[in-house]
Symmetry: C2
Subunit: 157 residues, 2 copies
């Protein structure tokens, strides 16, 4: 349902295709530094990035979230991510490692609501890393608790 | 080539299957809280994690890096990642978003040298995030520089 402003006029949803900066790029309505295009996906350089060589892989269809994207396109994105990784490693950009990152939902740091996989080169001392709360993240749990987590997810598969 | 210790006896490579904790789990030689297994992949709960519901998806074959994994298995991992994401969202674990994360190489924070995709639930205030050096990461560059990056990667595709 559309959100509403204080005067009760419906606001466009952030997931709407008409607001989507990636759809505008794909339609040729805004500039893009394109690397690869095929029937299912596009690969381009984001406006700002972790390190030079960082790319985004997106589906052509406007799928805001994981749950909106068909398996075939998701699988093709992974195939292209592997090819792009090889190209980044062969390029002149400093690359001692590669990260894939995907954010699904605002709580997971998604900012553009059109599915996108980040693929970016890494090197020692580049300053990139993960932060987490050591009070509850990366704490070792006993096996019965791990088994219970496995059971809960399995139930919903 | 194997690394050597100071007495010139070759040390096993970190990528060797004989040292691989994931291969030991798959072979039933160490405990694992398994969620899903099929001909190509396994999904399990890691020993420690960002939030409850965090899982790892690994290929059955011992592929240390992106470049070692065949397209079919990589694509299947993505398909399973989508299914697991739906299961995590339906489960009792707090989940307002999902992240996928993959590390390829030590410089990219890879710690176990058997390809693995992290899939983990996120929620507002969970304390997880990214850190980076603002002197060179996420700095806006002019379009000609973005085009030049795109050209360099395209050349190596």
């Amino acid at each position: 349902m559309p959100e509403e402003c204080h005067c009760n006029i419906p606001l466009p949803l952030k997931e709407d295709q008409s607001n989507c900066v990636f759809c505008k790029m794909l339609a040729g309505q805004s500039p893009v530094s394109m690397i690869h295009e095929d029937a299912k996906v596009a690969v381009f350089v984001p406006l700002s990035f972790v390190n030079p060589g960082h790319v985004l892989i997106i589906p052509r269809i406007h799928a805001p979230y994981i749950s909106d994207l068909d398996d075939d396109t998701a699988m093709h994105i992974m195939k292209i991510a592997h090819r792009i990784s090889a190209a980044i490693r062969k390029s002149s950009f400093r690359c001692e490692g590669i990260n894939f990152f995907l954010a699904d939902g605002e709580a997971a740091m998604q900012e553009v609501f059109h599915y996108h996989l980040h693929v970016f080169p890494r090197y020692a001392g580049d300053g990139f890393g993960l932060k987490y709360d050591p009070r509850h993240s990366f704490v070792n749990l006993p096996r019965p608790e791990l088994d219970s987590i496995a059971h809960e997810i399995k139930t919903h598969l």
